[in-house]
Symmetry: C2
Subunit: 317 residues, 2 copies
Amino acid sequence: MRFHCPTVKSISVFAPATVANVACGFDIFGFAVANPGDQITLTASDQPGVRITDIIGDEGRLPREAERNTAGIAIQTYLQHIGRTDVGVDAVLHKQMPLGSGLGSSAASAVAGVFAINEMLGRPLPTVELLPFAMEGERLACGSAHADNVAPSLLGGFVVVRSYSPLDVIRIETPAALYCTLVHPDIEVNTKDARFILKNEVSLKNTIIQMGNVAGLIAGLMKPDYGLISRSLVDVIIEPVRAILIPEFNEAKHAALDNGALGCSISGSGPSMFALSRDADTAQQVGAAMQQAFLSVGITSEAYVSEINKQGPRVVD
Amino acid sequence: MRFHCPTVKSISVFAPATVANVACGFDIFGFAVANPGDQITLTASDQPGVRITDIIGDEGRLPREAERNTAGIAIQTYLQHIGRTDVGVDAVLHKQMPLGSGLGSSAASAVAGVFAINEMLGRPLPTVELLPFAMEGERLACGSAHADNVAPSLLGGFVVVRSYSPLDVIRIETPAALYCTLVHPDIEVNTKDARFILKNEVSLKNTIIQMGNVAGLIAGLMKPDYGLISRSLVDVIIEPVRAILIPEFNEAKHAALDNGALGCSISGSGPSMFALSRDADTAQQVGAAMQQAFLSVGITSEAYVSEINKQGPRVVD
């Protein structure tokens, strides 16, 4: 097999933040947003291998060694897979979202990295085949190779991870008018803690309720039927347990719903929360109300409002 | 509120058999088939109230008292609801499918009854509003007012019962070329036993796998994507427990899959099994192979092959 030689000396790629779980779809649903996201710049080097030469915006918290960095490991695994360990790149990572926020920060970096190197080498693999390498970044960051952030960040849109063995990722069409509000309260929740407090058993009753909502959300998105989307954005299994890790969760959620959101829940393992709305104005208002709920107990926050990102990563100037 | 007076002296209605659960969707999925089904004939009477004057095809096993019969109770509850206890009808029920078979026999009778009386009275209620009365028939037959048989029998097509409180029933479009094979082995499984052996707890791991398949099946039907339908027709929660009640279940299932079925599982609480295929010839072949599997241990069976019934009940001559 012959691949193109690197013809691009330098490339910058943006990969989007993602909301995993999406209320009822623990470990199987995720979608990408237009904003925020992470950016990586790769520059060709004569010296084989991957080097993280700088990380901007992480306040020094992320490892600079390529094999301990999600983007670095994703690029390394990719280069090994395509048999191009002769390639050398220097990477500068621009973190443009909070770390450990439940917004898929590690996934966005890994996706940006692997998408960028694939572009740089003349696209030897189709985008969908980059997924396993981005998942290696997640394995490094979270301890297991989850796909519910990397898959939507890489493929764009709303994604179902139907199965892990074998990996089966399905893209679901979403209505044009669907806006996401993300609110990141300035508190920290450790992803591993968030997983640890979950129970290993679910009642059959709650399993049935959750399956009904999973089916309803997919049908609601595909029809589209906003009422059905709204009724289905309900999580009876994970949210009741994890909500206790987020101060003012119930108040922020009620603020979102009272201001017209279709639904509101935890983004990934939190502490960020997401809400979906039918128009940009509502989504803005929902964000302001949620921020106010946090602020009422002295917690500052960042809010982001954007459409669903149907494109995934993109090359930027 | 004024309703039309009965203008029809006699009416016959066919209501279809149904496959509940549909592999991954325990208690939430169901679809109607074109064949078999039950038929009811109502004749106007001067004497108020509902009388079951005859039942054909039940070998004397079903109660003749209206308030102990699923069709009778559905009609009675309906007449009470619309305030027409002055109406009198004599009903003849033609059971055209095996009882206690997992094919929604009690649901089909209740749906036929309530659809027929509503037609007879000039359709005072839209079809979808007949659901609660048909569910009363199910409460009588099964001990709880399940909707996963009555909803598809009444509405036709593939149905999701997203929620019971409040009742939220969603109709899902299915591809034109989707054929159902039903095989009813001549053994009996009691619905209450079939429910009793289920565990009250499900592992979170299996809940996630099942949710992935639930999402995959809805997406597969709506896209449509036959490969996705096939990969999603997997039940890791109920089938492994209930399969032990059906002798030769695994052999019959493998026979279906080996002969080209997209998937195969238990219909409702069994003992009938269903398979879905992409064309009528395959569905026929699948049925023959499944029957042969049962016959290899001396179990005779009936097989039915038909399209998905998108119409629901219909008036017949």
